[in-house]
């Protein structure tokens, strides 16, 4: 075997690695030209990092589970018809059980209406629950909605008032609220904010440390990953 031939294995690895890295990078940039300079690449990275700063500040108007004074806040942008949001919900519930007052869970809407047209109205339904019964009702409604939805746009809309009734809300008032569409703008504002922060799928979460450092987390990641990030964010006190 010649030494020249021996070079082919590492060469093949390098080509494969370059191909994968190229595909990933182009995919992230969404750039059809495929041509970029290191400066442009750096600017793009900086833009993505800066996008997190577009996150609307957490205020009393948000839906917060846990203490508002918690050193770590997890802002989750979610879609009620997304199966991954459904599976991520118990993960977040476990976080709240384990971390108590050290973590605040902030829920914001990010319905992907192109693939889940029913998710918009479902998000509005949770806002109606909030209007009629406050934060507690919002979370009860949210928990129940994730429990009963089969996901992927398969929830029967007739379930929405049934859930309201299940958690003890007045169905007639709930229906009036839902049909009025008065919370549609709130849902839209949350969605626009999710996009502005760089969210391109759900669930999209931003873990905010006490020192303001923001960690983006895309997808329904395992509890262990979330725990690692929370521990890191708690260090930033």
């Amino acid at each position: 075997m010649t030494s020249q031939n021996n070079l082919f294995i590492p060469l093949a690895i390098v080509i494969a690695g370059a191909l994968i890295a190229g595909a990933v990078y182009l995919g992230q940039r969404g750039d059809a030209s495929g041509v970029t300079s290191p400066t442009e690449a750096w600017q793009e990275e900086a833009r993505l990092a800066a996008a997190l700063e577009n996150m609307a500040p957490v205020t009393a108007a948000d839906h917060i589970r846990g203490s508002t004074e918690a050193p770590v806040k997890i802002v989750e942008y979610s879609d009620f018809e997304c199966p991954f949001c459904k599976s991520f919900h118990p993960t977040m519930q476990r976080v709240m059980e384990e971390y108590g007052d050290r973590v605040a869970w902030v829920y914001r809407h990010f319905p992907l209406d192109q693939i889940h047209p029913k998710a918009d109205k479902e998000a509005e339904a949770t806002e109606c629950a909030n209007e009629l019964g406050g934060t507690d009702a919002f979370w009860k409604y949210t928990d129940r909605l994730f429990e009963v939805t089969p996901s992927n746009n398969n929830l029967d809309p007739a379930e929405l008032p049934r859930i309201a009734q299940y958690i003890g809300l007045a169905t007639q008032q709930f229906n009036e609220c839902l049909s009025s569409g008065r919370h549609a703008q709130h849902v839209e504002d949350d969605t626009q904010n999710a996009l502005a922060t760089g969210g391109n799928g759900t669930p999209w979460s931003i873990i905010v440390a006490a020192d303001g450092t923001k960690y983006p987390l895309s997808g329904a990641q395992p509890y262990e990953s979330l725990k690692q990030l929370i521990e890191l964010a708690l260090k930033g006190k």
């Binding site: 191909l19 990933v24 991954f84 949001c85 599976s87 889940h116 395992p222």
Partner: protein, 182 residues
């Protein structure tokens, strides 16, 4: 024929190692893909200890069970395994018959990997690479019209890699020799 070619290649431990390494890299990349920015941020964070810098990427590998459907997890694993096998076979082939390398299934294999990467994350809500590309093209709603919501690309990638392995095995089993004039 494929089995005999596989035996020929993988009786050399160097090719087994190459295949395992490549498969592991492809798998890790596919699973980390949605959170590359997060991993980079944590690795570069002065707050994070060495153990945390190590633990986060490892824990994110678990998302194959939480952030993938059964179908997408299956083809992600299949693509990683097949690409590892494919690359090792191509490396073997290239080392033994450089001149005929262009005739092997290497291009098909890379097409398979490319397609597989497009499919990665498509099953996740909002998808990742494919959705970004389609959004750029102003046609992200097109995913609605794909029966498997974009997973077609992952399945296609798996098939292309299998074809590539078959083509490479065929080349390995059929020596590139000059025919005898009779």
């Amino acid at each position: 024929m494929v089995i005999r070619a596989l035996y020929k290649v993988f009786r050399n431990p160097a090719y087994v190692a190459l295949s395992l390494f490549t498969g592991a890299v492809v798998f890790a990349f596919a699973v980390w893909l949605p959170n590359i920015r997060l991993i980079a941020a944590v690795l570069g964070s002065p707050e994070a200890s060495f153990a945390q810098k190590l633990a986060l990427p490892i824990s994110l590998l678990g998302s194959i069970a939480t952030n993938f459907t059964l179908l997408s997890a299956s083809y992600t694993v299949a693509i990683a395994v097949l690409f590892g096998i494919n690359l090792a076979m191509v490396a073997y082939f290239v080392r033994h018959r450089v001149a005929a390398a262009r005739q092997s299934g290497i291009a098909v294999g890379f097409l398979g990997l490319g397609s597989g990467i497009l499919g990665t994350g498509c099953a996740a809500c909002g998808s990742f690479l494919l959705m970004n590309g389609l959004t750029f093209a102003g046609a992200s709603g097109a995913l609605v019209f794909l029966p498997l919501g974009g997973a077609e690309f992952g399945v296609l990638g798996t098939v292309l890699l299998a074809v590539s392995i078959y083509l490479t095995a065929k080349r390995i089993q059929n020596p590139a020799v000059c025919g005898v004039n009779r």
